[in-house]
């Protein structure tokens, strides 16, 4: 087996690997992970992933990934959204079968056909979305499918005793809630219930998928205590996260994934956040930032003290202020789930704001319906094209009408002018290079990139004055990415205000004139992309305020400042 350094090594990785080597050599009798030497180290590794490759169509989600989890340790798996972390763990948990490579548990090769096989082999997974039955009690959830019975009825007393013994072994406080319905518990407790459920079923290896994403800081601390208890009792944990400080705090080793491949594996106490941040987001920038030719103009969109709640009533946007000017791309970076979706929905009119102001061209639009906002000139490239952006069963002609039902010339009073819409669809197909170039093709038969180009075309051709683009290149091939980026830049140069939300850091860096980093519903900072390193952005995405960079990049930045930055290539 080749060591992890095979991928695209830069200084940081070499550094990481050398520190890893050092750490390894300090261990007694240790081989480098991935260098399988047969059964001799079987006892040492609870889990070994050996050259795992998983493809979905043309997309390689995991590319020859090696990873080994030592018994009784926490092994962190970090990487950006889409780096392949969850896919890799789904392979381990039996949800996917790898196209290549081998999974070994306690040194024995295994082939899991389903999660049940994994559970039987002692692998448990704590999903981001808990596998709990909300209206049932904690006890009932833990024993589900493995209920002890006495004379036909579930023996709750015996179940309770077993759970209490697990709780006392690991110092869990869940025994207080045994008769409480799961839905009445906070997510922190629910998570512990999930962990107990896995332990009750005899899990030796626990995979925790972004377990801290839903927790408050106090709950995170409690979770880390639990994790330490588990490893002290000899269980092995895989901890998926993108929050670097957490990985460093709780993990023994850290494996960094990027674009489906391992960048490196390092000892937690021999690395730094900065190093991990570089490993995680650092890459050859695919596209050069281009000097811009126009200066931003008047403020077009002004958002003040905006607060938005999600469907469950939780506040996801917590007092955000910003201004987007004509001819400017305002980028919002951040790990998904930090309030970006709710922010976009509030601006585009799909979700009512709890409080705060949304002004467009000086008019308050917070009270306008979605349709009224479309008519005012707000275009929206949605993050979920299958759900919102297109109707899969419609052909492209009928999809060209989506959002244009009241826009001339496509609408004529109550009637739709299908002739004009058909011409429009053909124009989009032609202009935006949509393949196949057939306006009567069903939208769902198109590839993701072509669907996205069609949506972008439809929204841009409405001649908007504000364009909200949310993850505009998600799941899109390289060629289409470049095409869509060029169109966004053209819009900007034509004087359109662009609000760009993306979890891809390079995309935000490439297109934005100013970048806000969103974390837990707030903007950590608003920076000038040329004045900040990816390392700093990575830290900010993990919620850490960066002291340097972008100090004057607040909403009242001089237009000239950005222009100068654009001209002076870094």
């Amino acid at each position: 087996m080749s060591p992890p350094t095979e991928t695209n090594a830069d200084a940081a990785e070499t550094n990481a690997n050398s520190s890893e080597t050092k750490a390894n050599s300090s261990e007694t009798n240790a081989d480098a992970p991935g260098e399988s030497e047969g059964a001799t180290d079987a006892a040492e590794y609870a889990v070994e992933l050996d050259g795992i490759t998983k493809r979905f169509g043309d997309v390689v989600a995991n590319d020859g990934v090696d990873m080994a989890v030592e018994r009784g340790t926490v092994h962190a798996l970090v990487g950006e959204n889409g780096a392949g972390k969850t896919t890799l763990m789904s392979v381990l948990y039996g949800l996917y079968r790898p196209d290549e490579g081998e999974v070994r548990i306690d040194g024995d090769p295994v082939r899991f056909g389903s999660p049940r096989d994994a559970i039987d082999a002692g692998v448990g997974m704590i999903h981001q979305h808990f596998q709990l039955v909300d209206p049932m009690t904690v006890t009932q959830n833990v024993v589900l499918g493995h209920e002890p019975t006495a004379s036909g009825l579930v023996d709750e007393a015996s179940a309770r005793a077993d759970i209490e013994s697990i709780c006392s072994t690991y110092g869990f406080d869940v025994d207080r809630y045994l008769d409480t319905r799961v839905e009445q518990l906070g997510v922190g407790v629910q998570q512990r219930v999930e962990i107990i459920k896995s332990l009750y079923r005899g899990a030796d290896v626990l995979i925790l998928d972004e377990p801290t994403a839903v927790l408050t800081p106090n709950e995170v601390t409690a979770l880390f205590d639990v994790m330490n208890q588990l490893t002290e009792q000899g269980r092995s944990l895989v901890f998926i996260t993108h929050k670097l400080e957490e990985a460093l705090e709780v993990a023994d080793r850290v494996t960094v994934l990027r674009d489906g491949a391992v960048v490196g594996t390092v000892e937690a106490d021999a690395t730094t956040r900065g190093e991990l941040a570089r490993m995680m987001v650092g890459r050859d920038v695919l596209f050069e930032r281009r000097p811009r030719e126009t200066a931003p103009g008047h403020p077009a969109l002004r958002v003040s003290a905006l607060r938005v709640r999600d469907d469950r009533g939780l506040e996801q946007v917590r007092g955000v202020d910003f201004t987007v000017r004509e001819g400017e791309v305002f980028g919002v970076a951040g790990v998904e789930g930090n309030g970006q979706s709710e922010l976009v929905e509030a601006v585009t009119g799909l979700r009512a704001a709890e409080s705060g102001g949304i002004e467009f061209d000086g008019d308050d639009i917070a009270g306008l319906s979605r349709r009224e906002r479309i008519e005012t000139g707000v275009a929206y490239v949605p993050e979920d094209r299958q759900e919102r952006g297109i109707v899969g069963e419609y052909d492209l002609v009928r999809n060209a009408a989506l959002g244009n039902q009241t826009i001339e010339p496509y609408a004529d009073g109550w009637f739709l002018d299908w002739g004009a819409i058909r011409e429009h669809a053909d124009a989009i197909i032609d202009e935006y290079d949509v393949q196949p170039a057939d306006s009567e093709a069903e939208a769902r038969s198109l590839s993701g990139g072509n669907q996205q180009k069609f949506i972008v075309g439809r929204e841009l051709e409405r001649a908007p004055r504000l364009l909200v683009a949310s993850h505009p290149t998600r799941g899109v091939d390289i060629g289409s990415i470049e095409f869509i980026h060029d169109r966004l830049r053209e819009m900007r140069d034509a004087g359109v205000a662009v609000l760009l939300v993306s979890s891809k850091l390079d995309e935000v860096q490439l297109l934005s004139d100013r970048t806000a980093v969103m974390f837990e519903g707030e903007f950590v900072d608003v920076v000038d992309p040329d004045d900040v390193t990816e390392e700093q952005l990575g830290l900010m995405m993990a919620g850490e305020t960066s002291g340097s960079g972008g100090t004057e990049a607040e909403s009242d930045t001089e237009p000239g400042a950005v222009e100068t930055d654009g001209e002076g290539e870094p």
Binding site: H129, R370, G389, V391, R398, Q405
Partner: protein, 376 residues
Amino acid sequence: MSGTAGGARAALDRAADRMVDATAVERFVIAVASTALALAFGAVVVAVSGYDAVEFMSALLYGAVGNLQNVAFTLRQSTMLVLAGVAVAVAFRAGVFNIGVQGQFVVGGFATTLTILFLAPHLPRGTVGGVLLMLFGTVAAVIAGGAYAAVPGVMKAYADANEVITTIMLNFIANGVVFYLIDGSLRPPGTSSPNTPSFPDYVGLPPFAFGSSSFSVIGLGVALLAVAVVYVVVARTGFGYDLVTSGYQESAAAYSGVDPKRMVVATMTFSGMIAGVCGALFAIMILGYYTDPATFPRFGFDAIAVSLLAANNPLGVVPAGLLFGGLDAGGQYIGFTLDVPAELIDGIVGIVVLFVATPELFRIAGRFGGLGGGRE
């Protein structure tokens, strides 16, 4: 972790999605196969029950189209089924299960009756007065039917009350209240049956070629006109686009500027207005007075089968309505002549619906039989 009351709505939406998840050819094949299988099943039941299946089938055919009178009866039933079927199709198309077309039809017809009986003394007698009465009566039916359908629409949109159940309850309530009002207030003194007075004899549609007292080509024309209007609305207007898009994919509709709650109410109202026209035609063309709605044919329910068979396409409702009109006429003929109970036809309608609800059955059958019923 999701759930709450939105779950039921989502379930209904998914159900609606699956209904329309079939290609046009597939739908046609399923429709034809469902009907053929259901009729075959009916024949088997007839045979098992000790009747003559061949005689049954030929009598069914004769009852439907055997002579001019039977054709007139078939067309009369078809007229009603086409109108009620379009009312159902509009709602189903938008993913709203309006099972209350029967009640909306009853209320619409009652509104027509009230209007005609109330206005008749105030308008000139004769053709002009008759036409005016029929026009006002129809307008009243449209308003009443729409309003009666809007109630479950509002309950669904703003209180998340399952519209299948509310509309069925409103069917019962419409029957009971209309009966109560006729029996208590409109029955002429000295009569025993719960009938309103008859309409003036200048109110009614001319029979033209068929010479039937309860069928007029004008009635059929009204039904076809309604189909055309619905077709144009669905296919050509922004409202129709909103409606159909809501049925396919509510989130995409919301993205395009549709308010989902208002759309539910608007859809129900639109559907109920068409059901109201059906009621007006029933009162004017068929009855000429009004009576206990419990004795009415269940056009509103058979219309569900008509609409499903037509894959909720307004144009497809015409052939499906003709087919079911023929079945209905044939079934009644059988009831009179062969003493095979006419209710059998209701059962056959149920089987058609059951088959249409399970396209997967035909896909699998097609795959095994190599008939190309599979997709792709």
